[in-house]
């Protein structure tokens, strides 16, 4: 069976890519305003009515691309965090990393900054601090490898992050508070080509770095002692990859707010589909993560159009039952 793995992964990859393209076409055609697929392609080419061109090219296209990038980044981040912690339940949202990024972003927003560079930078810093806090908490409890302790530490840090945000916003005018709360529920609604470029750059650099180090994740998966025996500085490698994964999650928070559970669900699906090594698993995860979030965003803006649902709520509705299922399996084993 083993020699067939790569080819079945290739099939999954091709299938995923085809589905992603179909989902993107569907996403471009459907929304508050509905277009026939031929009108949609004409608008992309710039030959439809000016309104259709504006809606498809300037409003919908950046949104679809951003959703795909954020989905891919979250899935890869989840894959990396699960690899470094050797724990299939790790993911940036549950580990409080996204919450930390949100604290950084909301604090600079409360101070009046609106430049993307500031918000992204603050999100990175917040994610790094949360990462340190979570690992420190787990370490202090003396049970670093324990699933329950890690998730407990993450939930605690996430709750703390929430509290910090609410305190930071206590004196802000109500419309700014509502803006921050909306953003804490996740949304791709404010996508611009600028935010697409920034997220793409982060995915290229940080996601690329994770893929580059995928072999290290494979070695870590063997266990601490075998990895050390193979000459890998386990702690250092795990720390580096954890930070890179956290920063990738922070980049998504800066672009689209808090979106949970994508990083949990997708790598597990990729593994269930037969991805054994991290490089293949991360590629498949990126593809499926993009697919999942493009579809989730399509739901978010069509179910109750012209009103929108928060993207983070939709991913949580999908992710929480999945998490419970996975938790049962991991405690049973």
């Amino acid at each position: 069976m083993k020699h067939r793995m790569p080819s079945s992964l290739t099939v999954i990859g091709v299938l995923g890519a085809v589905l992603l393209v179909l989902a993107a076409i569907l996403s471009l055609a459907f929304g508050a305003v509905r277009f026939d697929v031929d009108v949609m392609f004409a608008a992309l080419a710039g030959t439809a009515t000016p309104e259709a061109v504006t809606i498809i090219r300037d409003l919908r296209a950046p949104r679809v691309v951003l959703a795909a990038l954020v989905g891919a980044a979250l899935a890869m981040s989840g894959g990396a965090l699960q690899g470094t912690m050797r724990n299939p339940l790790a993911e940036p949202y549950l580990l409080g990393v996204s919450g930390g990024a949100a604290v950084g972003a909301v604090i600079v927003m409360a101070l009046g900054a609106s430049a993307p560079l500031w918000i992204t930078g603050a999100a990175f810093l917040g994610a790094a601090i949360a990462t340190v806090l979570v690992t420190l908490l787990a370490h202090l409890s003396g049970a670093r490898g324990d699933t329950r302790v890690l998730i407990m530490a993450g939930v605690v840090v996430g709750a703390f992050a929430n509290a910090v945000i609410l305190v930071a916003l206590a004196d802000a005018p109500p419309d700014r508070i509502r803006g921050a709360l909306w953003w804490m529920m996740g949304s791709a609604a404010d996508a611009t080509w600028g935010s697409v470029v920034r997220t793409a750059a982060a995915l290229l650099v940080l996601g690329g770095a994770i893929l580059w180090r995928a072999r290290d994740l494979d070695v870590l998966a063997l266990g601490t002692e075998p990895a050390a025996a193979l000459g890998v500085d386990v702690d250092r490698v795990a720390r580096q990859l954890f930070l890179i994964g956290s920063w990738l999650a922070a980049a998504t928070v800066a672009a689209a707010g808090l979106i949970g559970f994508v990083g949990l669900v997708v790598p597990n699906i990729a593994r269930a589909l037969g991805a054994r090594h991290h490089r293949g698993m991360l590629w498949v995860s990126a593809l499926l993560g993009a697919l999942l979030l493009v579809l989730a965003d399509l739901l978010a803006r069509t179910v109750r159009a012209p009103a929108e649902l928060p993207l983070g709520a939709i991913t949580a509705l999908i992710g929480v039952p999945f998490f419970l299922m996975r938790l049962r399996r991991s405690t049973a084993s």
Binding site: G31, A32, V33, E51, T54, I55, D58, L59, R60, L166, L169, A170, D171, A172, P173, P174, D175, R176, I177, R178, G179, L181, W182, A189, D190, T192, A305, P306, A307, E308
Partner: protein, 320 residues
């Protein structure tokens, strides 16, 4: 909550859009923050070249963009009808339901964080939005689509006058705008004159939400209407248009009377928290009409008349 939460929320929502744009009061509730302070108003009506809207964008100095208008704010939507240019309207927010005829204009979704796609689809030349930071992204997206916007915020009477004048110019009905302003102002002046001689001005509180208690502050046109109608708002020292306060603070300020709509009165009577307030326990309510007071609008003159009659029945024959 009120016994008829849907209607109560709807009315409150309309009013809050006019005040601080709190579409979901629950969100404000869970943060427990105070409302924002009113921005200083230009005393002299400014409509010359160089004038800007509340997002700092230049406002139109003629009716060049008046062909197809989307209005996403109950206040501006109602005003377009009052100015007789409702035929220009090609879209409104789903909360803009006054006057009744506005409901025949297609709704394009919410007025805060509006759906830009739905707006672009009705091919507007001018979009009127409520000036809140949450609408900035939409305004920027509309600008990229080549659509002109005016972001306006009305909390106080003076801002309303300024808005009427700006829209009169932008929609090519400056003379009508002048008439509308004058007529409202004349009614308000007559009410003010009738209440000027009062020796006793009741101290009142005007709650706009019951849990947590949200009340009107000095930043709102409703505070101004109270003063004109011969009452004193116990929260007049607070600059916000509306603010979340503790029940203790309301009790401490000991208002003589509570301003409520007929529909709210029953709810306040039975609501345990509000029983702490003697004015509520003893049923000292002043009935207001949400149809008149719900938004800063052409009905403000009549709202002042109605409030003055409810507060001071003895003045009825001296009021318009």
């Amino acid at each position: 909550m009120f016994p008829h939460p849907r209607l109560a929320r709807h009315i409150l929502r309309l009013r809050l859009v006019g005040l601080t744009a709190v579409t979901v009061a629950v969100l404000a509730a869970c943060t427990g923050s105070t409302a924002d302070a009113p921005r200083p108003v230009n005393a002299a009506p400014s409509s010359v070249a160089g004038d800007t809207d509340d997002f700092g964008m230049p406002v139109p100095t003629d009716a060049r963009y008046a062909a197809r208008v989307v209005s996403l704010n109950p206040t501006t939507t109602e005003l377009l009808f009052a100015l007789g240019v409702d035929s220009l309207l090609v879209g409104r927010s789903r909360w803009d339901t006054f006057p009744r005829a506005a409901q025949r204009v297609p709704a394009v979704g919410d007025g805060i964080r509006p759906n830009v796609e739905a707006i672009v689809a009705v091919r507007p030349t001018l979009v009127l939005v409520y000036a809140t930071p949450e609408n900035r992204a939409a305004v920027e997206a509309l600008a990229r689509a080549g659509i002109r916007t005016m972001a306006l915020r009305v909390d106080r009477l003076e801002q309303w006058h300024q808005m009427v004048q700006r829209l009169g110019i932008a929609l090519g009905v400056e003379a009508t705008a002048g008439l509308v302003r004058d007529s409202v102002q004349r009614t308000l002046d007559r009410v003010r004159a009738a209440t000027a001689s009062l020796t006793e001005r009741p101290r009142v509180v005007w709650p706009v939400w019951d849990t947590p208690p949200m009340v009107i502050g000095a930043g709102s046109y409703l505070d101004e209407l109270l003063t004109i109608a011969g009452a004193t708002n116990v929260f007049h020292d607070r600059a916000e248009p509306s603010l979340t306060v503790s029940m203790e603070e309301i009790v401490r300020r000991a208002p003589d009377r509570v301003i409520v709509s007929a529909q709210q009165a029953a709810a306040f009577r039975t609501r345990p928290g509000w029983q702490a307030l003697p004015a509520v326990r003893e049923g000292r309510f002043v009935m207001e009409n949400p149809d008149l007071t719900g938004r800063p609008s052409v009905t403000m003159g009549m709202a002042a008349v109605q409030l003055a009659k409810a507060l001071h029945p003895q003045l009825a024959d001296r009021l318009p």
